[in-house]
Subunit: 421 residues, 2 copies
């Protein structure tokens, strides 16, 4: 079974919107064993839509379309599809009630253009969209004796995602009678995809014959590793994936920071909550980004007391109690200063752990001794304080991001290895 | 002159990478009056590459390709293009020296697969890429008497962007002898695209006949508005854009936070640097995100002293000097507490301005009195302190982001309106 994606919208071609829908769709369908064959982005133009549809239908069984279903004049996907399939637009009373309830619930007036969104092609299956006013449309269009389906969805990502999860995917899996899949994901950090793949090379070669497939899903500084197996017997698929994951963890477990499809900050908040422990940060070069990462997790207030961003040296001295003569002697980017920052923060905030970072994020401020990318980090715990020096690159944003990930993973590993008191 | 984009890579179709290159390219070319006609993403497969190329060449004059130029086995774009255009891969000694210098500069060993990146199609124009080891390739391929060009670039965004700015764009503009364009961008905040468009509706209707075009470039909570005009006489284009911009500012100036293609944080750092003023933040619900936004700007250390993330009430009391009985009486999310946070931070850090935020970011923690999205913000200045209450939505990440933007814009406007002392 082959599928393609067509995204419709002038804003995609003019670069006013990044098409994130296609990558999301690609990952979701790949998870179910259906790799997208092609992604095509076109403008809100009837001829373009028809041409792209004809081309895609000559290649694949399922065409997934997003975009062009809004209420304004430039949204013409619905009318174009009706014409294409020789259908009439008819008022769908049930949908009209849904749309009117949607506006009512938000206390907004319903305009005639929104009423018109309930006019739908009379031969399609309507896929209800509780998140908005543009419904999904499923067109059965068998060709030359084989099943073929065209599905049109709104381009607003969270409406589209809801539709895929609740309507599109269950129907597609049942129509093509696709087998169940079982997945497990772990989050690795600090090792590139190619190095990781090298470590597990032999194991990876045997995967296929064990009926397990692997996906490396990279993000800056991190790689998610997803194992999956497909079987009509879900128990068998799970056993195969679990066995393969155990072998993977034996080889590369030291690079794994979290089990599951999660983030290092979320894994940290979860672990500290379980352990009843707390954290603070004292940040110079990361400028609050560590604190922002932790507090982006809902429920982080249970483990995060607060933080001090000590950009200026005066703040390091006055708020964190760093010795001014230490800064004079060793510089703010030094082992002794970052250690004092972590210890000062831990003491003042009364937390289990304190992280500190002081470095030269760039692009300016480097010296031959301490080039841009030199970043000292420290972790204070009840057992004492450790400091390490990172040698990163020249890009300010990436240096901050990598320091944050490195620091959060450090607390996570330390907390895991300590005995619960 | 028409152009299309082809992005090559299995990772795009499997959703392991979001294709941000196409949107960037779309915006850059649109800025020069060339709208992309179509974007096609295909896998690392020779047949697919040839098919997509044939199709694109039947439609447009310029085909921009990214991806598939890496050193590993699955990267086959270069070999496929050489075959397609009937060229031989030959060792390019100048490029070999470039690549070897690239590795030398990083203290990394050069592997045979990297040497092979200097093997290039003998009939193409090499576009040097100082940021990496995969060069750009320009293929002149006139068809039926009209010029046609295919350009292949690496998929790594910052390498691709450098190549476009330094090599591709100047050559394209000169080859097709395109007229100069003049642009001006302003950053608006706190007003949606459709509301903005409504305010300036009549003005917008006259734009086209004045030879000026407008683009709304939305980002969360913000819309960049770009006016542009094209002319063989650059002075005339500039006068038209400036006149239109003046009229726009008369209508919607209150929503404009910065002139130029910038961010509110960058505009703030620039203004405070000019004025010799400083800033600190005292953050509860934003959890360090305000500090992180300011310090993401290079050079921010000139104006940013530091910040206190006061997540726990004890930190609000002990570090910022908030009255514990005030928290008891009014709650941490209140006018009096957020005012005390701003004043305490300004006093302790000795800055010109202090921003504070305390609110319920969600998803938990709401009460009937103070539902999720209730966020108090305060700004302390030499003239006194003001506080305001924002009523935002239910989404934690968006609430934090909108609060940050609102606060930074507030300081920016306040600083602009104060007399320089």
């Amino acid at each position: 079974m082959l599928a393609e994606m067509i995204t419709v919208g002038d804003e995609l071609l003019l670069g006013q919107t990044v098409d994130t829908n296609s990558a999301w769709m690609g990952e979701v369908f790949a998870t179910h064993g259906i790799a997208l064959h092609r992604i095509t982005s076109i403008s809100d133009d009837a001829e373009e839509i028809v041409a792209a549809l004809d081309e895609a239908r000559a290649r694949v069984d399922l065409v997934l379309m997003t975009g062009g279903l809004g209420p304004t004049r430039d949204d013409i996907t619905k009318q174009t599809l009706a014409n294409y399939f020789g259908m009439e637009l008819r008022m769908n009373e049930e949908v009209l009630q849904r749309i009117s309830a949607w506006f009512h619930g938000r206390g907004l007036p319903m305009l005639p253009v929104n009423e018109a969104q309930a006019m739908l092609p009379d031969g399609c299956t309507v896929l209800p969209n509780p998140r908005g006013t543009a419904m999904g449309m499923w067109f059965d269009a068998p060709q030359d004796g084989r099943s073929q389906v065209v599905i049109s969805m709104p381009g607003v990502p969270y409406e589209m995602k809801g539709l895929v999860e609740e309507e599109v995917l269950p129907r597609v899996l049942s129509k093509w009678d696709l087998p169940t899949r079982y997945h497990r994901t772990v989050l690795t950090q600090g090792i590139g995809e190619s190095y990781l793949s090298k470590i597990v090379h032999e194991w990876e070669e045997d995967l296929a014959q064990n009926g397990v497939s692997i996906a490396y899903l990279p993000a800056p500084g991190q790689v998610r590793v997803r194992l999956s197996a497909v079987s009509t017997d879900e128990g068998a698929a799970q056993r195969r994936v679990d066995a393969a994951m155990e072998a993977f963890l034996n080889l590369a477990g030291e690079h794994v920071v979290a089990d599951g499809d999660t983030s290092v900050a979320a894994a940290l908040v979860e672990l500290l909550t379980q352990r009843g422990e707390t954290l603070t940060t004292a940040e110079s070069c990361t400028g609050g980004a560590m604190a922002a990462a932790v507090t982006s997790v809902a429920g982080s207030s249970a483990v995060f007391e607060g933080a001090v961003v000590a950009y200026a040296n005066a703040v390091k001295v006055n708020v964190l109690g760093v010795d001014a003569s230490d800064i004079q002697r060793h510089g703010a980017v030094s082992e002794s200063v970052v250690t004092a920052m972590a210890e000062g923060a831990r003491e003042r905030m009364g937390t289990t752990y304190a992280l500190a970072a002081s470095g030269i994020a760039g692009p300016g401020g480097g010296t031959p001794d301490k080039p841009v990318g030199t970043i000292w980090i420290a972790l204070a715990t009840p057992e004492g304080t450790e400091a390490r020096c990172l040698k990163l690159g020249r890009h300010r944003g990436r240096n901050v991001q990598r320091t944050v990930l490195e620091c959060l993973a450090w607390v996570l590993r330390t907390a895991r290895s300590r005995n619960t008191h």
